[in-house]
Amino acid sequence: MHRYHHSSFVSIMSATALFAAGCARLCYGQGNLDERLAAIEMQASKGAQLGKLETEALKLIQDFRSPADTGKVYAHIAFLYARPGANKQPTKVIAYATMALKYPLELRDSVRIYLDLGSAITSKYLTIGPSECLSHRREIVVPFLSGLKLLLDNGVPEEPVPSPGVMKFDVPPDAPEYQQIVREHAQQMEARKRADALNELVHLRFVLTNEICGLYSQGTDAMAELQELSSQILKNDAVVIALLAKTKAERAKHIK
């Protein structure tokens, strides 16, 4: 509650702007951290200047001081700069992702940060020249492997779990069966939400695996380096063997 008090000043100050700029701007100063970060992200999707949004997000650290909240703010700034179109500033992603990883993050955010960090390092070298990525793949692959390690440690499976539909219903609220069908509907909604959340992590595992294999399937053979790094970071023989096999298969696609 203290946090809301503190932020009320921002709300009052921005009340005038509400009429000119719409609700989303006011929402910077309202709600919990997730809501306020979501409002900033919405502005980013509408093309707002990222530098300004970065400043707005950094101000949130004054209101939300716990390590988890601070990490979340840094992570979301990294996500802002990792958006398509903002990739001309990979150094921003690298800086904020590195800061975010010093704090406790939710699993999904951590893995996304590792993915965006690896991608930003790739961007940095791609701007120098296409072959620069390959010269620095040792540096690029470490975040990808670290993200994969997190997923493996949390038991994220390789294959998605079934995620069925959520029923429609047309039952009058005064019908005796109404409460029962509402409960059943809520259970389906919850099951779907859980399955989707897990499947998002499964998808991240798939993406990270492909990034790692793709990186080492190009250029000169560096399978030994991949084996060394993946063994060192993943500490999971079965996954390392699978990674190497997939990379080898991908390498075979190249003509040279």
Partner: protein, 411 residues
Amino acid sequence: MNGIIKNCVLTAVLVFLGMTVQLHAQDIYLWNDSMLYQDEDPWELAGWGNLTASYDVQFYYDTTINVYLMDQPFHYLDIESGSTSAEVLADVDPGATYYIISELFVSAFYVGPCYPDEYYDIFAFWWYGGETYGDWWYDFVMTEPSICVSEVSIYLGNLILEIDTPPRIVSSTACTAAGNSNNARTTIGLGEVVYISTDPAISVTWSVTGGGNVSPVSGTSTTFTSPKTPTTCTVHASIGNTSSTKSFSVLAPSGISVTLGSDSPLGDAGPPNNYIGARSLFDCTVLPTTVSFFYLSFRENIPGDSWTWPDSSAGSRGAEIVPWGVGCDNKTTDTVNSTLFGIGRIFNGSSYVDFGYSIRVPEEYQNGSGSWVSWLPGETHPREYRGSDQKARVTINATNSANGSWQGPYK
């Protein structure tokens, strides 16, 4: 050697289906072309070195072109020679750099008197028109008077054409659509997730135009999430000076196909006949089935309806919002329940009569900005009661109509 010109390397130009660089050496024009056959698997790259020469040049000289196709210095994929043209061909990787190099040689043959201490220019390009630039002389000095017979070949220069082949993009939708098992489809539903990668794997920069999102923005693969507004989106994979694109048509839901799944009567059959009503479970499929709407949030936005029963009593169905969603196959179920009413509702004072009322169930989906968009405003769920046997049934009128079975009356 005095008569050899310096290598003439022009700036590489990348133009597919007719890329050309030219070397103009006196009356000889040398140029390279290339063509990339992307319909082949693996891709094929053909390169040509060609020359044309004036009549005089052709009369007095022989020409030779050597053409090389390389993927790195001194690593030759193909080498061919010809007098006026030569073609090289090789399988190539997408997203790689190749070089087509043409070397031009000219041979001259001289028979005639020679005198000591005199210089002879048997190539003498300047005799036959064209500009004279560079060092074109092949000089030789005779020490004794004699008849000279001499054939000399000189290297006039080369051309290097650098070709960056664009990356090949492959895609796979996260969902297999019920009506199209090909996950490489490029017609997708609102909010669909598509995994996109380069094949073979090459690190590229990803971007999207027309809406939607790609993440991450660099690497060998990305995840494209289509916008929740119907449109056409294009995903770009860029590397160096070249790029490839893949376009997706994004469709909105267009209707709901319904079939009766099962009936679930609301009680034990009479007599005595005290209650009327019906309950049926319908199988619903969001159309079109060639795409998936798995990632789209739907809701029934029931506005509420009222009616008057034949016995003059009032009936009503309150407003309600019911969120729902489909699996990858666009399927879900819909339970329609009239609920139980006393049988007297359809008694008009003298007999049981046919009666019916309809519940409006307009459908909406949530777009990218969180607003709800009406897409099937005319869906209705009629309830019918039959006077003759006091049975009831429920129906869904969506894109098509499906009836439940006649049920009841109940004890």
